[in-house]
Structures are given as C-alpha cells and as structure tokens.
C-alpha cells in the first residue's frame, strides 16, 4: 500500500543543547496552534471558493439548464436571482460569503426546503454511520494489528507475517460497494437477518457501517501491525524490557503510546477517506444521509443542495484533520516543538 504520510512530522529535534523546560500552553503551543489554525483558515477559504465556483463554472447558463428551453424570461430571471447570478462575479462572492456567515445556505430547487433543514435531518444519519464505522475500524483493527505484531515478536512463526499481509491486502482492496452487495445478499436476502434498506435505526445501520469499515479495518490493522513491530524493534523497548515489567505493563505504557502516536496521522487520513466511503455506501443501502442527498442533487442539478453538502463534507474533513493535529501535539511533544525548528 502507499503511505501518503510524510516522515517530516517526526523529525527528531536532535540533541542540541538542553532546552529550557517548557509547560503546555507556553509559547511553542501557541505557535503550534496558530500555525494549524492558519492552515484551517486557508482550507476553509478554498472550500468556500470551490463551492461558490460550482455554479459559476457550469458550462452554458445554469439557470437555463434548470428551467428548460420552454421557460419564459420571467421564470429564467427568477431562477437567476435565486442562484445569485445577476451581479458581477466579485459581488456574487461577497453575497455568497455573506449568506454563509449568516447561516443561509439557500433553498433546494426541487423541494423548496431550506438546505439547512435538509442537512439537519440527514447529517446525523451520516455522522452515525461514519462514527460507527470508525468505531469498528479501531475496535477491531487496532487490537488485531497490535496482537499480531506482539505474537510475531514472541513466536516468529515463519508464515505468520505473509499470511497476515495477504489477508489484509485482500480485505483492504474490497471496495465498499462490493462489500455492501455481498452483505446485502448474505444477511438480507439469504438469511433475512437484517434489512437491506439502511436507516438510522440500529438494525438498519449495522450492514452499512460494516461495508464502510471493512477495507479501512484491514488497512488499519496492517498499519498498526507494522508500526508496532517497528516500535518493538526500538532500543527504548530494550530498555523497557531490561526493567522486567509484566507484559501488560510493557505493552500498555511503553509500546501503546508510541504506536498511537505513529498511527494517528494515518488514522486521520483514514477517517477522512471514511467520509468518501460513507457517501458511496449510503447509496448502496439507500441510507437517508447526505451521501444519497448529494447524489440526487447532482442528478437533478439542485445546486444549493450540492453546495451545502460539499461545504459540510469539506468542513468535516478539515475539522478531523485539525483535531488529529491537536491530539498528535498533545500525545507527542515533538510535534509541537518541531514548529519552532521550521
């Protein structure tokens, strides 16, 4: 698999002169926070611009596309103003941002409902699905990967590693829509245990969540295995072993924190990727979340809904990335001080 993660985040600051003691909340932390917040600001700005441009970049006249060729000039004019296409581009952007700031996402062309209401109904379902999927990924993937590494470290079974690699590669290559189809066939049609129709109810969300989680789970398990093996080979683990700690203590206090640190960055990316998987999976199970809504909106050229949902998805991704950065800073002090050296 590719690792899309830079090694730079872990650049060891090296052993220069002893650095004066620092307390959390001091200067490095505010520098670190400021830097990350700056990144967030840029990301949000680009995102807003992107959603703004969606309507403006549509080839031809989006209003004409919407109302059809037979519509009267008045109708066309009405849709135009609804889309905010009458002013100059700059003025349009100002209006768009102004609306966003005051919380207005516009109304759907199809249902005439405010987009914010649609989001209010559908976002919780999507969040539940993504959250449950993430929980599955972590609860299954982490112990599986770490257990495998610990077992191999102790026993060194010759076929162990390659078997694990093969299984996780196969699992990681399963797209969620294929997993979903298989799950529907097995659990809904063949054995009739769970409904094929997705929803917010517990029985309705299990299959979708499993579909979203399956491939990332395998990838995550492999990642954790690799990271744990790497940590187990480190010299500080030899130091810890020389202390003859009970093995639960060794793993809990000496291995786990480091594995978590090195896993977090990729875990954050995985979580962002999970959002994409959720959008697709919702359409497999017809889950009433924002993933099905955005696909319908695209098919119906319902621009306000498209804009609203892409904005929300983007903000979610940005929030996740930011949160991971902050947690990483809390867990691994070197991340914070690395800001200084840059």
């Amino acid at each position: 698999m590719t690792s899309i993660i830079p090694a730079s985040a872990h650049g060891a600051p090296g052993g220069g002169a002893a650095v004066a003691p620092r307390v959390r909340g001091g200067a490095p932390w505010s520098a670190f926070l400021l830097r990350r917040l700056g990144g967030v600001a840029v990301l949000v700005a680009v995102l807003v611009l992107m959603t703004f441009l969606i309507v403006r970049l549509v080839p031809g006249d989006p209003a004409r596309n919407l109302v059809g060729l037979t519509a009267s000039t008045e109708q066309l004019q009405a849709v135009r103003s609804q889309l905010g296409l009458e002013d100059s581009l700059g003025q349009q952007l100002v209006n768009y941002v102004g609306n966003l700031v005051s919380g207005g996402l516009g109304d759907s062309f199809v249902t005439s409902q405010p987009v914010s209401r649609l989001l209010g109904e559908r976002l919780p379902v999507t969040a539940e699905l993504a959250g449950l999927a993430l929980a599955i990924v972590i609860v299954v993937g982490f112990p599986a990967g770490m257990g495998m590494a610990a077992w191999q470290h102790k026993r060194r079974v010759r076929w162990g590693d390659s078997a694990f690699t093969t299984v996780t590669s196969l699992g990681g290559a399963m797209p969620e829509y294929v997993t979903g189809t298989v799950l529907i066939y097995l659990f809904a049609l063949k054995f009739d245990l769970l409904p094929a129709q997705g929803g917010a109810a517990p029985s309705e969300i299990i299959l979708p969540a499993l579909s979203v989680a399956f491939a990332p789970m395998a990838i995550f398990a492999r990642l954790v295995r690799n990271e744990t093996s790497a940590v187990l080979g480190k010299e500080y683990i030899t130091t810890a072993v020389s202390k003859r700690l009970p093995s639960w203590r060794l793993y809990l206090t000496h291995v786990l924190p480091n594995v978590v640190t090195s896993t977090l960055t990729l875990g954050g990316l995985l979580l962002v990727a999970l959002l994409g998987g959720t959008v697709i999976t919702e359409n497999v199970f017809n889950v009433p979340g924002i993933g099905t809504a955005v696909v319908n909106a695209i098919l119906q050229s319902d621009y306000p809904v498209i804009q609203g949902i892409i904005l929300v998805l983007g903000l979610l991704a940005i929030a996740i990335t930011f949160a991971v950065d902050i947690v990483l800073g809390l867990v691994d002090p070197r991340t914070v001080s690395a800001v200084r050296s840059q």
């Binding site: 500080y236 202390k243 497999v284």
Partner: protein
C-alpha cells in the same frame, strides 16, 4: 523472511500477467462479444443457464457478455484517470522541488493542505459542474487524486534532489526544467512505476464506485460499476449477476495492487536477499576451542557474574555456526571488565546475553550464567524479575533508549515503582538523588522533561542514573560513550569509574575502542569473530605486553597513549573480520594474521595459558608479542 522472498517475484508476475490478460480482453471483447452483449432476449432477469452463465439482465441481455465487453470502457477510463492523476501529480510535485526555495516551501505547504480534502469532495464538485458522464467522472477522479500523487512525487523527488549529482548539476547552472527531465525524473522511474500501479488500482475502484452510485457512466453505455448497480437491483432474483462485475473490479484492483507491491519490493534495495541463510562449515577443533582457559574453569566464589561456555546463534539451525562461541568470564565486585573487539565480534551480544536481553529470535545456551550466585542459564525459563533490580544496563545511544513519548521521570522511577513498590514520591526522591549522583544538572526539572529536551550527554547521565536506581550489583555498559561528543565522553567515563569505586560495583564495559577500555578497566577480554581470543590485565595492555596477534594489531592501529611513543606510525589493521555467514575453519584470524601457519587454517586454537605468560587463543604465540611483528 524466506517466505516473503519467495513471494516477491510471484506477486510481481501475477499482477503483471493479470493486467496483461485484462488489457487483451479490453481490446478484443467488444469485437467478439459486442453483438451478443447487445442482443435482447425474452429471458428477462434469468438465472444462470448453459446459454447465459451469469444469467440475463432486465432486458434479457447476457450478463457475462456485458461484463466482458465493459472491460474496454472501464479499463480505458481507469487508464486516462491514472494518467491525469499521476501525470498531474508528477508535474506538480517535481516542479515544486526544482523551483526556487520560496516556491518550494509554499508549494509543499499547499499540497499538504490540499490533501486534507477527501478526493470525493473534488470528484463530486466536478461531476456537479459538468453533469455526470464518462468524461466528467474521469477528469473528476483524476484531478481529485492529483494532490496525493503530487505529495508522493514531491517526497521522492526531494530525496533525489538532495543527492550529490543533482546538487552538482544545479551548481553547474542547469535550468530547472532540464534538471527535472535529465536528473530528477529518470531516477524516479522505478518508484513512479509503483505509484502508477497503485494509482490505477485506486482509479478503477473509485471510478466504478461513482458509476455504481449513478454519477459516472450513463445509459446506454455501461462499465463494471453500472453493471454492479444493476445487479444490486436484481439481487433478489438473480444474485449471480453481481458476480461478474464484482469479481472483475476486484481482480483488476488486486492485479494493479499486486504489481505495485511486487515492483516496490523488487525495487527496494533493502528488501530482497538481505538475510541469507547462515551456514558455516562445522568448525574443526570446535570442541577444543570451546574449552575455557584453565584459570577460568572454577567459577570464582566472589564473582558477581559468572559465565561459562556461552553460545549464541541466529537460529536453531545455525547452532553449528554461532555468532558467539564458548565465551567464559567472571567479574567481581568493584571490578571493571572490558570487552573489546570490532563490530560483529559478538561483544554486545555477550553483554546482552548476560543481562538476558537478547532479541527473542536469537538462540543461546550457557553451561553457567549466574548473577549474584543465582543461576539464570536456562534460556527457556522466564527471566527472573530480580534481574531488573540486580543488573543495570546503559546502552549505546541515549537518544534512542528513552521512550520519546514519555517524560524522563517516570521512565527512571519505573523499576522502583513496579518491583520495589515504592510510592511515587519516594521513587521520585530516589531518582533525583541518583540523577544528582550522575551529575545531572537541575534534576527536578529533568524529571518533568521529555527526552528530546535533554542534551546527548545529559541523556546518557540520566540513563546511568536510571540504571543505578535500585543500586544493582552489576552494571552493563554497552558502548556508553560511542554516540557522545568527544568532550562529553571523558566525563561519562569518569562518572563510571567513580561509580565503580564508591559503590564497589561490578561493571562490564563493552567498547570497540581499545583506548577507552585501557583507561577505565581493570581487566580486558579481547573478542574476535565470536570468541575471546585474549584475556589480560589492563597493566599488560597499557604496557603493550599482549600475546595475541589480533590484540597486537589493535594496539598498533590505535594512537599510542604514552607521549614518548606518539611518533610511532599507526599501522592500520589489514583486511576485514569474517562475515557472520562465512564458513570459519581453523583460526578465524588466519586471513589477517602475519604469523599464520598451516595448522592455523585447520585447527581452531583454544584459549590457554601461554608458556611465557599471558592467556590467548593462538597456536603460534608463546607469550607477549613485540611491536614489529607485522612484517609480512
């Protein structure tokens, strides 16, 4: 290791063969099955039959034929998508590297930021703008993956562009574009090929996904994603319909992934053939060689550590060709024993074996291994917890011996807290006392710091303080000064010396540096190719009364200690020590030894008392050797 070695070419060939077969299919399928795939029939949503192996769709068309025909559109779309994603990524990533420094920093940060957006957002936006179609979905996914590939190329290219030849080319004044195409891209060819396969795998999966949810290929065209979506509708009637497109997507994704993984392992210079099977011819005279020196046979009653006939091998099969062979030694309280030798001589392994810290994969055995009179020689038994408090260990590199994610304090106090049940407060006080003893400045502050906040010398002192925490009777120091600045080295050696005298502690000091050993130790064992070849007092060593040709050579290669001898030219030791996987027959030093005789090549000499004094493993030497023996 051996299994993964066999897997490598296999993955590569399987992936390549599958992709080739798929490409052939993409070319010929529409020609052969094009008509039959479009032929309607009255058998609507039929189950599998001899005529329709995967059944028929709602219009009565054959699913298998349609799956085969769809290969062309699906693979063509994936290929163009990959081209856009990887091509765009390469251009962006590599351009940033060769551009000026300012552009580079900005560009890299921008790419880092762009990666925060999930590709699906970009893909959705673009399909929203251009309406779902083959063209828009290909462009959408291609562009959506550009930042990721730009980042990967950028990382790769940065590592290449810091290489000497690129730096030189830049100095010579090559234009950036030329630099890019002449020097950077050619060297990236291998990794980029890997990237392309991986890109193709993601492209096929994502494309099919978007088609599946209706945002890709539109009626009447069809690709695997659309076919699978149709199959999902028919799942209750004809579940086998999903089989065709589902498997097709999986196989294609896997084939590309396999090719990428295979290429990656194939190209990775560190990957293959590193761990060759270690097999050495059985050492002739091995039994003889293992007989320890007579003076060492009876364990000294007051010894803190006693080792007899310690043997370490890489695996159970290679016991005949061990890494450490028949090592025996004793260390008394207040004594510093030095073990000196080149890297690979087995000195560190010996030390780690004494501390029972050998890596789990290694196999070892010893006739005796006792610490403070307690026998710990059974390799199968769990190491007694007592060793944690009886033996302190100082490792070579203090920067990697502390866990970087935890404060220094809890790491130092851990043994006392866990094994002696000390309260946090008492343990902290003890730790601060030890830090003070190890001359660590402001110990209270250090306790609350992270390892990276301490300087290298300070970390090593903290490491020593940690080793001393429970007042162990034995300290094992494995190259304690090697990773330190020269100025700090002397301080740390002095510290060890003081500890041994004030605490009357036994210390085993491992070093490759004969100077370090002769400054600090009382007694010295010289190791070569896994064996002790000479044992001598530090006085003899300092005065050059050494008996083994190897020790002699070590001394001649090291700068002399006495000022009067400064002018004597250094004589570098010729040749290299035997590799661990080389067969050793006879004396391991024979290839480099100026005194070598025929007997040396056949029979491994035992460690023995020499007629004119001294203890060495050599057939020829009869006592202390003079300087001038290297005449050859």
């Amino acid at each position: 290791m051996t299994t993964s070695k066999r897997r490598k070419p296999f993955a590569l060939w399987l992936g390549a063969a599958l992709l080739l077969a798929l490409s052939v299919l993409a070319v010929v399928a529409p020609i052969i099955w094009g008509d039959s795939a479009a032929a309607l029939s009255s058998e609507v949503r039929g189950g599998p039959s001899a005529e329709h192996l995967l059944g028929t769709d709602p219009l009565g068309r054959d699913v298998l034929d349609r799956t085969l025909v769809a290969a062309r559109l699906t693979l063509a779309m994936a290929a163009v998508t990959t081209l856009i994603a990887v091509g765009g990524g390469i251009v962006l990533g590599a351009t940033i590297v060769v551009a000026g420094r300012r552009v580079r920093g900005l560009g890299e940060r921008l790419i880092d930021l762009m990666i925060a957006y999930p590709p699906i957002i970009v893909a959705l936006s673009i399909t929203a703008i251009f309406r779902p179609s083959v063209g828009s979905v290909v462009v959408a996914i291609g562009l959506a993956f550009v930042p990721q590939f730009a980042r990967l190329t950028n990382t790769l290219a940065s590592s290449v562009s810091s290489k000497d030849y690129v730096v030189v080319a830049r100095l010579v004044g090559l234009r950036p574009t030329r630099l890019l195409f002449r020097h950077v891209i050619p060297n990236l060819a291998g990794p980029l090929l890997v990237l392309t396969s991986v890109g193709f795998a993601s492209a096929i999966i994502t494309l099919s996904g978007l088609s599946f949810i209706g945002l890709g290929v539109q009626e009447p065209s069809y690709d695997w994603g659309r076919l699978l979506a149709q199959a999902l509708q028919d799942l209750g009637v004809n579940p086998i319909e999903a089989f065709g497109p589902g498997i097709a997507i999986l196989i294609t994704g896997l084939a590309a992934g396999l090719l990428g993984d295979g290429l990656n392992q194939f190209l990775d210079p560190r990957g293959p053939v590193r761990r060759r099977r270690r097999r050495r011819a059985a050492t002739s005279g091995g039994a003889d060689a293992r007989t320890p020196h007579a003076a060492l046979l009876a364990p000294a009653p007051d010894a803190v550590v006693s080792v007899r006939d310690l043997t370490i091998a890489a695996s159970p099969e290679s016991v005949g060709a061990p890494l450490v062979r028949g090592v025996s030694l004793d260390v008394r309280a207040g004594e510093i024993l030095g073990i000196v030798g080149e890297s690979g001589s087995g000195k560190s392994l010996t030390a780690m074996a004494i501390a029972r810290l050998l890596a789990p994969g290694l196999h070892w055995s010893a006739e005796t291994l006792s610490i403070n009179g307690a026998d710990v020689s059974d390799a199968r038994e769990q190491t007694p917890v007592r060793l944690a408090t009886d033996v302190g260990v100082v490792f070579q590199d203090p920067s990697s011996c502390f866990n970087p994610a935890r404060h220094v304090g809890p790491q130092i106090t851990e043994v006392a807290r866990v094994h002696q049940g000390l309260s946090k407060r008492a343990a902290n006080e003890l730790a601060i006392e030890r830090l003070r003893e190890a001359r660590v400045s402001s110990p209270e502050v250090r306790m609350r710091q992270y390892p990276h906040e301490l300087s290298g010398g300070m970390r090593q002192r903290a490491m020593i303080a940690m080793a001393l925490l429970t007042s162990p009777s034995l300290l094992i120091a494995d190259e304690p000064t090697t990773a330190l600045d020269v100025t700090v080295q002397a301080d740390v050696l002095q510290l060890l010396h003081r500890i041994s005298t004030t605490r009357n502690m036994a210390i085993v000091l491992i070093s490759h540096d004969i100077k370090v050993v002769s400054t600090l130790c009382h007694r010295v064992c010289v190791m070569y190719a896994g064996r002790i070849v000479e044992e001598l007092t530090v006085e003899d060593l300092r005065e050059g009364r050494v008996c083994h040709p190897y020790t002699r050579a070590l001394l001649d290669a090291a700068p002399r200690l006495e000022p009067s001898a400064r002018q004597v030219p250094l004589i570098p030791l010729p040749g290299r020590p035997p590799q661990p996987d080389q067969p050793i027959v006879g004396c391991a030093f024979a290839d480099r030894c100026p005194l070598v005789t025929d007997r040396c090549r056949q029979e491994d000499p035992a460690l023995r008392a020499l007629p004119r004094g001294g203890v060495a493993a050599c057939h020829v030497s009869t006592g202390p050797l003079e300087d001038l023996l290297v005449t050859q």
